[in-house]
């Protein structure tokens, strides 16, 4: 547990290996890279992720020296790269097509770069042997590229690009040509080799699973800009825009108008509540009211102090519910003053669906204070998002909600957010099932549940009326920029 987390980007002392400074690249009228500034640190496994044409390959080709920035600078270890030709950079690239030299054997392919560096013969031999061992290719050394399989070719390409021990290795869709199973194995192999060699890797991919698996940080690109750079879990759990939320993984987007939750008012009566429009919403609202009334609340000053001054430095502690992975239970321990609610009892017959059983209804779910509620559809209760930034109050917002954060059950659960709908479709994926649920107003919502039981025991089927529920912190509130 004492292992320190690898996060040089958080260390102000750490010097970046690569610095993009206001880099722009235009091809004629087309702007491939648009004033991009980004630091990448030594030993990072940095993934550039984006749809085709977003500029990720151009960025990589500029690092390799095949393209020159129209404006701006790229620094490698503090040195401006613009005047260094491709063959003199301490940067090597693994090409998407592998670009193995078809007329040379595996051995000669790997030795190619070493021979160009005019290394002594014995050293070349030792290094090639080492690379062959690293990539488990010893027995294929004398084969030509067309005499080995796709996976072996991929490893030759990797060995060849690593042979010169570059400071930086660029991987352009390195696993694109492999089938799924082999790709997954190779991902771990890549990570392993990256760790062993200590080389900085930059990988270009359009496969988000691949980026999430291998990378220490992921940069999501769109139209020549980096939209968000973050660790894979933050990219997934805390996207900074609708674009990122929608690009990474599956997501439900609820468009609506945000209203501040006035939970800081001394009495519930002072809180302007919308008229409950459905009986379901009535329940949820009543619970919210009771909840808010029971809790001692920080004063406005205290809250502001926490939000504006302390929280950015030491993190939020007034809202301690883990933002990253919310509990499936509707009643996690929250708030500074509230005692931890006992975990609801799971009955064996309430499987992957919401854990709340009817008995749990006696304990009103703890909805964390603060945040926003989102009025998204007339006839549907507003959605509560206690983690929503209050700065967005009054704006058009999108609540982005991952399907696996939505529980689906036949009985009405007690939760911060409850919606009723009908199962239209079930996508059975083996380990999980995705339920396509149509709400009363026609909105389709995807909910996922792990198939922990054999299929015959599962209760929910087509045309069933079900309840969807999620906690007040399950989603991410984003500004509606569409």
């Amino acid at each position: 547990m004492a292992q320190t987390v690898f996060a040089p980007w958080n260390d102000p002392e750490e010097k970046p290996l690569i610095q993009f400074r206001n880099v722009t690249k235009r091809f004629g009228d087309f702007t491939a890279i648009d004033r991009l500034t980004q630091d990448i640190y030594a030993r990072e496994f940095f993934a550039l992720l984006g749809p085709s044409g977003c500029g990720k390959t151009t960025l990589m080709r500029m690092l390799a020296g095949f393209e020159r920035p129209t404006e701006g600078q790229i620094l490698l270890g503090g040195q401006d790269l613009s005047q260094i030709p491709a063959n003199q950079r301490s940067v090597n690239m693994m090409f998407q097509s592998y670009a193995l030299f078809p007329h040379l054997t595996v051995w000669d392919n790997i030795a190619f770069g070493l021979k160009r560096a005019k290394k002594p013969k014995a050293e070349i031999e030792a290094r090639v042997k080492e690379m062959l061992r690293l990539t488990r290719l010893e027995q294929f050394a004398s084969r030509k590229p067309h005499q080995i399989s796709g996976g072996q070719r991929q490893r030759v390409a990797l060995a060849r690009s690593l042979a010169r021990a570059p400071k930086l290795l660029l991987l352009d869709e390195p696993l694109g040509a492999l089938d799924k199973k082999l790709r997954e194995e190779t991902q771990f192999e890549l990570m392993d080799i990256q760790e062993k060699t200590g080389t900085t890797f930059i990988i270009v991919t359009h496969d988000q699973e691949e980026a999430m698996t291998v990378a220490s940080r992921v940069a999501v690109m769109d139209h020549g800009r980096i939209v968000q750079v973050d660790t894979p879990d933050r990219i997934y759990e805390a996207p900074n825009s609708v674009y990122v939320a929608d690009f990474i993984g599956d997501v439900n987007l609820f468009h609506g108008v945000a209203k501040s939750r006035a939970e800081r008012a001394p009495a519930p009566a002072a809180r302007p509540l919308p008229e409950p429009e459905t009986p379901e919403a009535e329940d949820a609202l009543r619970e919210m009211q009771e909840e808010a009334a029971r809790k001692p609340q920080p004063t406005a000053l205290g809250m502001a102090l926490h939000d504006k001054v302390l929280a950015p430095i030491v993190g939020k502690w007034l809202d301690q519910q883990p933002k990253a992975l919310p509990m499936p239970d509707p009643a996690p321990a929250t708030g500074v003053t509230e005692a931890a609610a006992p975990a609801p009892v799971r009955t064996p017959d309430a499987p992957q669906a919401s854990a709340s059983t009817p008995t749990a209804a006696t304990q009103p779910p703890a909805i964390p204070p603060g945040g926003l509620e989102i009025h998204w559809h007339a006839g549907q209760p507003p959605l509560v998002a206690s983690n929503g930034p209050e700065a967005l109050a009054g704006r058009n917002v999108v609540l982005s909600l991952r399907p696996e954060k939505i529980s689906i059950s036949k009985e009405r659960p007690t939760a911060a957010n409850v919606l009723q709908g009908k199962v239209i479709d079930i996508a059975y994926l083996g380990n999980i099932s995705t339920y396509y649920v149509k709400l009363a107003d026609g909105t389709m919502v995807k909910a996922q549940a792990a198939n922990t039981r054999r299929i015959s025991r599962r209760g929910i089927t087509w045309e069933d009326t079900v309840w969807l529920s999620f906690t007040a912190t399950a989603g991410v509130v984003l500004e509606d920029d569409t």
Binding site: A64, G65, F66, P85, A86, N87, Q88, V91, N92, M93, F95, Q96, S97, A99, F101, P102, H103, F112, G113, R116, A117, R143, K144, H146, Q147, I148, S149, G150, G151, Q152, R160, S161, R164
Partner: protein, 272 residues
């Protein structure tokens, strides 16, 4: 598709007859006993023996081979360089004009090429001889080579050259160590094409030749004007045999390589 039909058979026979009857006649009469080309008088190989005793023909053959060898070699170097420049240089101002200018001699009447070269050599005061024929043949063979090589380069994966440069090769090393070995078959067939073109060129050679540089086609042409001799038939037969052997060998080698490669690829995939 594969069904036999009288129509197809007839069309095919006519086509082949059109192509090969003149050659068959030529070959058959090269073994004629008689001096008269059109009268069959029995089998003999004496014209072949005579051919090899005729010093003028041997000289012309030697000149032709030298001219063909040097001009096709120079044309291959220049044509490959031009093709590489056109295909790889990307967009530069005047690219279309430049590539058009390289291919222009393909459609230029030979008489004009020959005449313009003649005028140039006279203007520069170069004595006409083997050198001028070599230069002239290089000029017109170069565009054929660059057509062949650039069509190969167009399908060549640029990433290979980039990989070579990425691994520390200079642009010239990348070309010499990676591009050239891979496009070698195209370069060789370009060379063969240039060689053949030079071998049988009459028009340009006769414009640019001088004393002591009589090529075989010029020699044949002037000999025929004095009357067709069976020697010429024998010579032509030898040329046909040489060309056929070359073409058949080349295609057999190519085919065998392709088959072996396909087999190895299958084996590699099964092994995976």
């Amino acid at each position: 598709m594969k069904r036999f039909s009288w129509f197809n058979a007839t069309a095919l026979s006519f086509g082949f007859a059109f192509l090969y009857i003149p050659m068959i006649v030529l070959v058959v009469y090269s073994f004629n006993e008689s001096r008269l080309v059109t009268v069959w008088a029995g089998f003999s190989t004496k014209w072949y023996a005579e051919l090899f005793r005729d010093q003028a023909f041997l000289d012309a053959a030697w000149v032709t081979l030298r001219v063909a060898f040097f001009s096709s070699t120079i044309a291959t170097v220049l044509g490959t360089m031009a093709a590489h420049a056109i295909v790889r240089a990307g967009r530069f101002p005047g690219r279309t004009l430049f590539s058009g200018m390289i291919y222009a001699p393909l459609v230029m009447p030979e008489v004009i090429t020959g005449l313009s070269l003649l005028l140039l050599f006279i203007g520069l005061g170069i004595d006409r001889g083997v050198l001028t024929v070599v230069l002239a043949h290089t000029t017109f063979a170069m565009c054929y080579v660059s057509v062949v090589v650039s069509s190969r380069l167009a399908t060549f994966d640029t990433a290979l050259e980039e990989a070579a440069r990425d691994l520390g090769a200079t642009p010239f090393q990348a070309f010499r160590l990676v591009t050239l070995p891979i496009i070698a078959p195209a370069v060789i067939s370009g060379w063969l094409l240039a060689f053949t073109l030079s071998l049988d060129d009459l028009v340009i050679a006769s414009f640019t030749t001088g004393p002591g540089a009589t090529t075989l086609p010029i020699k044949i042409f002037s000999a025929v004007r004095l009357g067709v001799s069976p020697q010429i038939n024998a010579l032509s037969t030898l040329l046909i045999v040489a060309v056929s052997v070359g073409v058949i060998t080349a295609s057999l080698v190519t085919k065998r390589n392709a088959v072996r490669r396909a087999r190895e690829e299958r084996a590699a995939d099964q092994l995976a």
